[in-house]
Amino acid sequence: MTLPRQPHQRGLLTAAATLLLLLAQPSAHAQDAALARNLAATCANCHGTQGHARGDMKVLAGLSAERIVAAVSDYRNGTLPSTIMQQIAKGYTDEQVRMIAGYFAAQPPKQ
């Protein structure tokens, strides 16, 4: 997960005006959270809604972000053999994988 971006500051704005601006727009953090959520939802068809996979498929909810990032990296370079994950892992940037991993790590392990 990336750190939330700092709100854009301009010298002439008072703290109160900055606050009003923040209230009028979704925060950078909320935008990142929605983006991570959207990206992770592309995995749900096999890995379950919010990572709660069923049957033989790998549950991602509650795994550590580091573990997910490492696995995707290993799939990508072939260290970890796979039928399909190597092909899919190559479709996402490192930044996207970090966001997806952060999202799944934050999901409770069981619904």
Binding site: L35, N45, R54, I84, Q87, Y92
Partner: protein, 428 residues
């Protein structure tokens, strides 16, 4: 966009509709959204696209009012329906209800759209009920271009010929015909020119029918007559499957475009084929609802969309999903992608209702598994990212691909895929 009324539909599209209205209750489901509603969304069509949209609008929007209008009482999955045709699964295993969606607060209405008033943002159903919306999602799937094959509509209507390209009674009808076919009979299948729903589906079907014959009618033949110049998906893998498992049983012919059907006689440009069981996958276009609403903007067949929001190019406030859309480059018409279209649309609709900017960098991915025997499958996969310059989705270079070989492991993954996408789509 002008208004759309049922009178613009052909008579056959209206036959047998609106019978469930006696039992209809718009009050439907209770689960009240928390906090004031940020908007009303009506979703028409409860297949992979529409059901996923309804589910994700509730999951992500929380306080979005969502009504799903679907003509059928249950969801019947096209993916895995070839296993039913091959006798390896039962209809009940690919049929699911909409109870999961109701439990997450979607109002599910079994009914049929009679008219859409785009200016007034209202949908009128057969029977007279009206649904107001802030945003409308239509996921109408495909309908058939029967006019392109002389006699086909009558042959399907009479039951002599099946299409089985919308899962349901047609799936079962084809299975029954195969069971009743004499030993040593001929099953012929016609494949239309691309684009059509589910590019690998016809070749999987050939394998599934052959797997049944191999076990039960070993002298029978499978004749595949493809209007295309080659196999449209996983070509080398299907060629291998035909040879490895069904050598001498499956015969595959290219550039065979069906012109006419008379009973179980199929007339192609260069030959006539008489089959014991004739399965014709008709040429396809966006579902009749999209046509009637004026959403069909490409080649008189498909609905063009803004890929950031899935909003129709022809109708502001109307989002189109799934097989009905004019596909982005290398994006197949699949249930998996309809589910992914729905997630892009749901996220965008929630942002639009809140007055926020929509996500400028959406992603989608696709996986299609095909069975070649009762328990061995293979896949094709692709990852798609939005290209802001070309304003469409494009595949990510270096990503995606096909199986090295069909395997039992991928057969298990295929079943796992089905279980998970069904749960994801229907909130099971």
């Amino acid at each position: 966009m002008g208004s759309y009324t049922a009178s613009s539909l052909k008579r056959r599209d209206l036959a047998g509709l609106g019978l469930a209205w006696g039992a209809l209750s718009l009050a439907g489901c209770a689960a009240a959204p928390s906090g004031p509603s940020i908007g009303r969304v009506v979703v028409v069509g409860g297949g992979y696209g529409g059901a996923s949209a309804a589910r994700y609008l509730r999951l992500w929007g929380g306080n979005v009012d969502v009504t799903l209008v679907e003509r059928n009482p249950d969801f019947v999955s096209c993916p895995m329906s070839n296993l039913v045709i091959g006798g390896h699964r039962q209809m009940a295993e690919i049929t699911m209800g909409y109870g999961g969606l109701k439990a997450v607060g979607v109002k599910v209405v079994q009914g049929e759209v009679a008219a859409v008033d785009a200016a007034g943002r209202k949908v009128r159903l057969l029977g007279g009920a009206e649904l107001s919306y802030d945003r409308l999602v239509v996921s109408p799937g495909i309908d058939f271009m029967f006019e392109q094959v002389v006699g086909l509509e009558a042959a399907v209507a009479s039951g002599a010929v099946t299409h089985a390209w919308k899962a349901g009674p047609q799936t079962l009808a084809l299975r029954r015909q195969l069971e009743a076919m004499p030993e040593g009979g001929v099953f012929a299948m016609s494949i239309p020119k691309a684009p059509y729903r589910c590019p690998p589906g016809p070749y999987e079907r050939a394998c599934m029918v052959a797997s049944y014959f191999k076990a039960s009618k070993p002298k029978a033949k499978v004749l595949v007559l493809d209007a295309n110049p080659e196999i449209q998906s996983k070509k080398a893998l299907f060629e291998r499957a035909f040879k490895q498992h069904y050598d001498g049983m499956v015969e595959y012919r290219t550039n065979a475009e069906l012109k006419e059907v008379s009973g179980r006689l199929a007339r192609f440009e260069f030959e006539d084929v008489r089959a014991d069981v004739l399965n014709v996958i008709p040429p396809q276009r966006a579902g009749e609802l999209a046509r009637g609403m004026g959403l069909v903007t490409v080649n008189n067949r498909w609905a063009g969309v803004n890929w950031l929001t899935m909003e129709s190019g022809a109708a502001p406030g109307v989002h189109v999903l799934g097989d009905a859309t004019f596909a982005a480059p290398l994006m197949p018409k699949s249930g998996h992608l309809a589910n992914q279209h729905a997630k892009v649309a749901a996220a965008a609709i929630i942002q639009l209702l809140r007055g926020e900017d929509v996500n400028s960098a959406p992603m989608m991915m696709n996986t299609c598994y095909s069975f070649v025997t009762a328990n061995e499958a293979m896949h094709v996969s692709s990852v798609h990212r939005y290209d802001p310059t070309e304003k469409t989705f494009k595949t990510v270079p270096g990503s995606g691909g096909v199986s090295v070989a069909a395997s039992q492991l991928e057969g298990r993954y295929a079943l796992g895929w089905a279980e998970n996408i069904w749960a994801d789509t229907l909130a099971l």
